[in-house]
């Protein structure tokens, strides 16, 4: 492929891991590893990351551990033509970060209205209730893209990090059978 100008992307594509910033250097690792090593976010703030993890875990168990917030954060930091996010397939117009930022704001705002707390602070059963309402577009005064669409995109991201990796296939007992395998089982 003709180079599209980002060393991290090209190497990542070859090795199958993503480029995270650690101590001023770019290190290739899987998002779950980045989370475990407490790698700082590039674009998200701590609260946004916490909210994404809570959403991801509600949508797909183990999404937090798989590094959903680090995955989305790293992917929002690369040019859109290098992005692997589902927002690309949903035909969103870049920058994709706008969708995540505005959606997280709306979620916290509506969560406060419905349950008196921000989403990440809710009990698991209330988080589930909130997401189920999102799925059905049944949250009053929702702002931005429709709640059901936000549910679909965030669910797809969580499915990616939990079930879309080689480890995810293995956990489900599905042979991965790659022609060209992503290294580091991702």
């Amino acid at each position: 492929m003709a180079s599209i100008g980002r060393r991290g992307f090209v190497k990542g594509a070859t090795l199958g891991a993503l480029a995270f910033s650690v101590g001023g250097a770019e290190v290739l690792m899987a998002p779950g590893e980045a989370r475990a090593r407490n790698v700082p976010f590039r674009l998200l703030d701590g609260h946004q990351g916490e909210t994404l993890e809570a959403l991801g875990e509600t949508l797909v168990p183990k999404a937090r551990e798989a590094g959903i917030a680090h995955y989305i954060d790293q992917q929002l930091s690369v040019p859109p033509q290098e992005s692997l996010l589902q927002a690309r397939i949903f035909n969103f117009r870049p920058p994709f970060a706008e969708f995540y930022r505005s959606t997280l704001l709306t979620i916290d705002d509506r969560s406060q209205k419905l349950f008196g707390k921000e989403f990440a602070q809710l009990a698991a059963k209330d988080q589930r209730e909130f997401v189920d309402r999102m799925r059905q577009n049944k949250i009053e005064d929702w702002k931005g893209r429709p709640a059901a669409l936000a549910y679909a995109v965030l669910r797809a991201d969580a499915v990616d990090v939990v079930y879309g990796t080689m480890e995810g296939y293995e956990a489900l007992g599905i042979p991965y059978m790659p022609h060209i395998a992503p290294e580091k089982r991702w």
Binding site: A2, I4, R88, R128, G164, P178
Partner: protein, 522 residues
């Protein structure tokens, strides 16, 4: 960078552009392909649904509107190979009835050609790039032709399990023809049946352009320039001929490439966008648009999916993304009492984890995890593709917003007409009956938003400038050295996958272009 005049400049290095590049380069013409995306190599095609998104468009050059917006980015291409770098390589053909819908039913359009004008090229393409299937079995529904060069692909339980229930439901199935190798073909290996076709086949078992027409074109001297975005087709002062194209190169510098012939091959939505953006005082509505039809009659297929969980392991990780079986039994336009249009039935295809999750989009949390574990070995499905009739209001226009090069974005407005919706519903009901006959443990239709598959129309062919944009070869009615290729020139869509037909039409058009070159360029 040199920009000397060439014989033909081709806008887009996907399926149709690659056919023209191959034919014209072999005919000794100097060919340049300008491709907006990267120049992908087989080694870029990582077996991962996540990494596979790199070969699809990013951003939104086409804005999507209407009640049933087209699933554009999932199906479009970006880079050499275009959408056919990640296509499923299903190679059914249109049937004779598709070419004469207006005459037979008073609906839609007639094509200016008949099935017999294309059948020779179906066979030629099959010989050229390799098709696996059983032509004799298909001939219960279509005129006889040549046998396919390879036997049918292997089948797996996820497909075989549907054959009897479909048969007893009045839908007999036959092996599906696919652009994949069931055995080694022209030095390309046989398929491994691991289901990664849709993120790009790096071994060459699937007939993507890199290992077929585009590879041949390069061997014959065609040049491909990546990251080259064409913004206008240029014309002479009289407006009687195109003179080349304006484009932005990989350094975002504006360039002009002169050519004797310009071929637009950038898929159904981008071709009209370019024609409309190339308006001049001689062509105030855009090039080749005296009919006012440029951008209109956009079409897509409905997909009626029925999912089923069985007690047995159906090996759903095995096979290809292409289908194992197909049926034209419900293809006659009046097969459904309450709807109009063709239906094309398919069964048997490999599933990945995204497919498993998408088969129950309502589930999340622990319920989704439980479902994924059950679906991992026991889920399979059938799909019925439904025809949509051409409608003037389904269209591509220029939007007020612009891209990074100052070119207006395209706006694709699409709404399924009542016939298409009725056909989709009828096909879902049929699917439920089949699943019941199959004895599935659980079965459900994929309702919700109507899925869209494929994108056709926008630059339709016809008999003259009053009723169409191009003739049956893809040549503009109004500017003889401007040609258009791809599914955009289909005046009706049938219900079967379009790529085999677009390959055949491109082969036919390219041979015509080469044969009349002297009169065209003098």
């Amino acid at each position: 960078m040199t920009n000397e005049k060439v014989d033909i400049v081709i806008v887009g290095a996907g399926a149709s552009g690659s056919v023209y590049a191959s034919v014209m380069a072999k005919a000794g013409k100097k060919v340049v392909l300008l491709e907006a995306g990267p120049d992908w190599e087989l080694s870029d095609l990582i077996s991962s649904e996540i990494w596979g998104r790199r070969i699809k468009p990013a951003g939104a050059p086409i804005l999507l509107e209407g009640k049933n917006p087209m699933g554009y980015a999932a199906q479009a291409g970006w880079g050499s190979g275009g959408a056919s770098l990640h296509y499923f390589a299903n190679f059914p053909r249109l049937l004779p009835t598709d070419f004469r819908m207006k005459s037979e039913h008073g609906r839609g359009h007639d094509w200016p050609i008949a099935y017999e004008d294309v059948s020779f090229f179906y066979d030629k393409v099959a010989r050229e790039i390799g098709v696996s299937g059983d032509a004799r079995a298909e001939e219960r529904w279509r005129p006889a032709g040549e046998a396919y060069p390879m036997p049918p692909m292997k089948t797996f339980r996820n497909g075989d399990i549907w054959i009897k229930p479909l048969e007893v439901s009045g839908i007999p199935m036959v092996p599906a023809p696919v652009g994949m190798n069931s055995v080694e073909f022209k030095g390309r290996p046989a398929c491994l049946y691991d289901g990664w076709c849709h993120v790009g086949c790096p071994i060459g078992a699937l007939a993507n352009p890199q290992v077929t027409y585009l590879g041949d074109a390069r061997k014959a001297g065609a040049e491909l320039r990546a990251f080259s975005t064409v913004t206008r087709v240029l014309t002479n002062q009289a407006g009687t001929r195109v003179t080349g194209v304006e484009y932005y190169d990989d350094k975002h510098q504006k360039q002009v490439r002169e050519a004797s012939v310009v071929l637009l091959a950038s898929w159904s939505a981008q071709n009209p966008r370019l024609l409309l953006n190339s308006a001049t005082d001689k062509h105030p509505k855009g090039l080749s648009n005296s009919s006012g039809f440029v951008g209109h009659f956009m079409m897509t297929h409905t997909v009626a999916s029925t999912w089923a969980l069985f007690d047995e392991d159906v090996q759903n990780h095995m096979g290809t993304i292409a289908v194992q079986y197909m049926s034209y039994e419900h293809y006659p336009k009046t097969s459904q009492k309450e709807a109009f249009g063709s239906t094309f039935w398919t069964a048997g295809f490999a599933l990945k984890t995204t497919d498993l999750a998408n088969s129950r989009p309502d589930l999340f949390g622990a319920e989704l995890d439980d479902y994924m574990k059950r679906a991992a070995r026991n889920l399979t499905g059938i799909k019925a593709f439904g025809e949509e009739l051409p409608a003037m209001e389904n269209r591509v226009e220029l939007a007020s917003e612009k891209d990074e090069f100052g070119m207006p974005l395209g706006k694709l407005t699409h709404t399924f007409q009542p016939d298409a919706v009725a056909l989709w519903n009828a096909n879902l009901e049929d699917g439920e009956k089949v699943a019941k006959a199959a004895g599935a443990k659980e079965a459900w239709p994929a309702r919700g938003a109507i899925p869209t598959s494929h994108l056709l129309g926008g630059t339709i062919m016809g008999t003259g400038a009053s009723n169409s944009v191009v003739n049956s070869y893809g040549q503009s009615h109004e500017i003889p050295n401007l040609w258009i290729a791809g599914p955009g020139i289909f005046p009706t869509e049938g219900a079967s996958n379009p790529t085999f037909t677009l390959f055949a039409l491109s082969q036919r058009g390219a041979e015509q272009l080469a044969s009349q070159w002297g009169t065209l360029t003098n």
